[in-house]
Symmetry: C2
Subunit: 209 residues, 2 copies
């Protein structure tokens, strides 16, 4: 079974505070050139996207520097629905796949179409970030606008400085909460520090049963 964990994106998609709103500018039309196309003007952190170290660290790796294998991983999604703080205790009893991905379902992403989504989301505890690094996670993802609320973005830096890739603005995580699965988190191959991605979970029905 395949589950789509990616946010649909249009001109009304809620953006990170201060970011430019997306614009989908129609270029060609059936009448003029025989096809429809658009120039999209979007922040590279719009919607579901992946951050690499160069987003926040001097001379960090670009997302396009990573081999394709880094975007396919054994994964687990931890149910943190309704919690105001995501803390260390969430890892109790959870087997983290070494070199794999850990997602957190917070419920914030359930209202991704409301303006409050931009700023009202749980606090991701720095100790949780450090523990994920220690346990060997290489991708961490959330259904929130960001891992941090303010500068100096300590959670981002704790993860990025340890070669962990970050996925923000996931949706539909309730469908995989508490489950193990294979994650395909495939970013567009932009030669930049971050890129929009299509992220899916592939659940082995037999294992899930």
């Amino acid at each position: 079974m395949i589950i789509d964990l990616s946010m649909p994106v249009n001109e009304n998609t809620i953006v990170f505070p201060g970011d430019a709103k997306p614009v989908f500018e129609q270029a060609g039309t059936l009448e003029t050139v025989g096809f429809v196309d658009h120039i999209i003007h979007i922040n590279n952190h719009l919607g579901t996207h992946i951050d690499a170290p160069d987003h926040m660290l001097e001379k960090g790796m670009l997302l396009s520097d990573y081999p394709i294998e880094r975007f396919v991983a054994e994964a687990v999604c931890i149910d943190a629905n309704g919690k105001a703080v995501l803390g260390l205790e969430l890892l109790e009893g959870v087997e983290i796949p070494v070199g794999g991905a850990v997602l957190f379902y917070t419920g914030a992403g359930d209202t991704f179409q409301e303006q409050a989504y931009a700023s009202e989301y749980p606090q991701f505890d720095l100790e949780l970030a450090k523990a994920l690094v220690a346990k060997g996670a290489k991708i961490v993802g959330v259904d929130m606008m960001s891992f941090d609320h303010d500068e100096p973005y300590p959670v981002h830096k704790a993860l990025l400085d340890n070669d962990v890739l970050l996925i923000e603005n996931l949706v539909n995580l309730q469908a995989v909460a508490g489950k193990q699965f294979k994650l395909y988190a495939l970013p567009v191959r932009l030669e930049l520090h971050a890129a929009p991605a299509r992220v899916i979970a592939e659940i082995n029905e037999k294992e899930a049963a």
Copy 2:
């Protein structure tokens, strides 16, 4: 084994004749806001991308109208390296997975960084397109700038009108030519008729041996 079939994209990426060139406009810097981000201004057909019917057909389906399962498919890549015309004979002896994907390695994509890539590519025969429809292919992909050279884009229309999704600007197809594999062709979830995609082949080593 995972093989990346996606074109790396930067401001120098060759575009379809007449399209605007991509611009990666830096917005935030480490000094000003504590992070680097960019506004990307790109045609939604830049680099490796997928076309849905609304690209050329009145009131056709948008790419975002398709369920996620449509982007994961059993696939085969046919070796058409060096051919000036991709014709019906290429399907001789090839088992097309029903509901699956058929890619064509033409070699055009081997020089995707040269300006000639924009216009010098083989002719995709309309009879080949019709045969692919008849055999039940639901995704067809090429390492070329387009399936057509000129209006009225008959190959696009023959495929799109039969609910076949098109992938253009694939690269690295020599690595999968003649092979069967699982294709993950995941487009960014833009609510439009087409979107940039990360496309990978997952080869089962046992089957491939």
